[in-house]
C-alpha cells in the first residue's frame, strides 16, 4: 500500500523540480549538482544504457509475470434464486477437489451458500463467470453493469480452532440488498 504514497511523493518532487528548472533564469548561472548542464558523453552512454537495461528488465519481468499468472477462470454455479453471502473455503481436508469443465474450475455452491474444497485457492488474473443453476437450466448472473448481482468479493485467511483456512466470499443480490446487508 506504500506504492501510491511513494508515487505521489516522487511526482510532487518531479513537478516542483521541473517547474523550477523550466522557469529559472539560466543566463550567467553556474551549473551545480542540482541544476547540471548536459552530461558528458561517457556519462550519457553509461547512464542511458543502464536506464534502458533497467526498463527492458522491468518490461520482461512484468510480461513473464503476467504469463505465469495466467490462472484458470472459475465458474460459480449458485442455486437459482439464492440471495446472500457465498463462501468458498479452500484446502479443507476431506473435502472434494474442484472439478474442471471446459478449462474452468466449477464451483457448485450448495443451498446454504458455503462450499468446502480440498483444492488450493488460485491467485492471479482471470475472468470468472457466475450462473444460477436449477434442475432444468443455467442462466448467467451479471457480475458487472447496471444489473450487477455480484458484490463485495473478498479473499482472506483466518486462523481458528480448525487451523488456518483460506476463503473467498462474495454477495449475490441487488445493490440495495447488498447495501442493506452492509448496514446490518
Amino acid at each position: 500500500m506504500i506504492l501510491p504514497y511513494l508515487a505521489i511523493a516522487l511526482l510532487t518532487l518531479a513537478t516542483v523540480y521541473s517547474a523550477i528548472v523550466s522557469f529559472r533564469q539560466t543566463e550567467g548561472a553556474a551549473p551545480s549538482w542540482i541544476f547540471p548542464t548536459a552530461a558528458s558523453r561517457p556519462t550519457r552512454i553509461i547512464v542511458g544504457s543502464l536506464g534502458l537495461a533497467l526498463l527492458i528488465s522491468v518490461g520482461l519481468w512484468l510480461g513473464l509475470g503476467a504469463r505465469n499468472n495466467s490462472l484458470r477462470s472459475s465458474r460459480f454455479l449458485i442455486p437459482e434464486g439464492y440471495t446472500g453471502w457465498v463462501r468458498v473455503e479452500f484446502e479443507v481436508q476431506g473435502a472434494a477437489p474442484l472439478p474442471m469443465e471446459g478449462g474452468e474450475y466449477v464451483l457448485r455452491i450448495p443451498a446454504d451458500g458455503v462450499l468446502q474444497t480440498s483444492s488450493a485457492e488460485q491467485y492471479g488474473w482471470a475472468k470468472d463467470h457466475y450462473y444460477y443453476y436449477s434442475a432444468q437450466s443455467e442462466r448467467v448472473i451479471p457480475a458487472s453493469g447496471p444489473d450487477e448481482l455480484i458484490w463485495g468479493r473478498i479473499n482472506g485467511e483466518e486462523s481458528g480452532a480448525r487451523g488456518k483456512r483460506k476463503y473467498e466470499e462474495f454477495f449475490v443480490g441487488t445493490a440495495e440488498q447488498f447495501n442493506n446487508q452492509m448496514r446490518e
Binding site: 506504492l3 523540480y17 463462501r87 475472468k127
Partner: protein
Amino acid sequence: MLPFCLYFVAAMITGFNVYTLLAMTLYGVPFNPLEFVSLLGSLCLMIAAFISLFRPYVAARVALVASLLIWSFYGPAIAKLVRTKVNNHSVLSASLVSHASPYSQSR
C-alpha cells in the same frame, strides 16, 4: 544525473502504480480514462529522463507537461479521498465487507 534519476524513478513508480490499477480491470473493476492519460504522462516523463542527459532545460519542460498529465489522475483521486474522509463516508473496503459478512461473526 539528478534530473535523470528523479524523472526516471518518478516515471517508473507512477507508471507501475497506474499499471496495477489498470490491471484490476481484468477483475471487472471499471477503469478511469484518466488512468490512460496518467500512463501517457509517465511515458513522457521517462522520455524526459533520457532527454535530460543531453538538454536538461528542454527535459524540464517536457517533464513539467508530463507531470501535469500524471496529476490529472492523481489530483482528482487525492481530492476524492480527502472528501471521503472529511465527510466521514464509509469506504467500501475489504475489511468492512468482511465485517458485514455473516461468516466473519461466527469466527
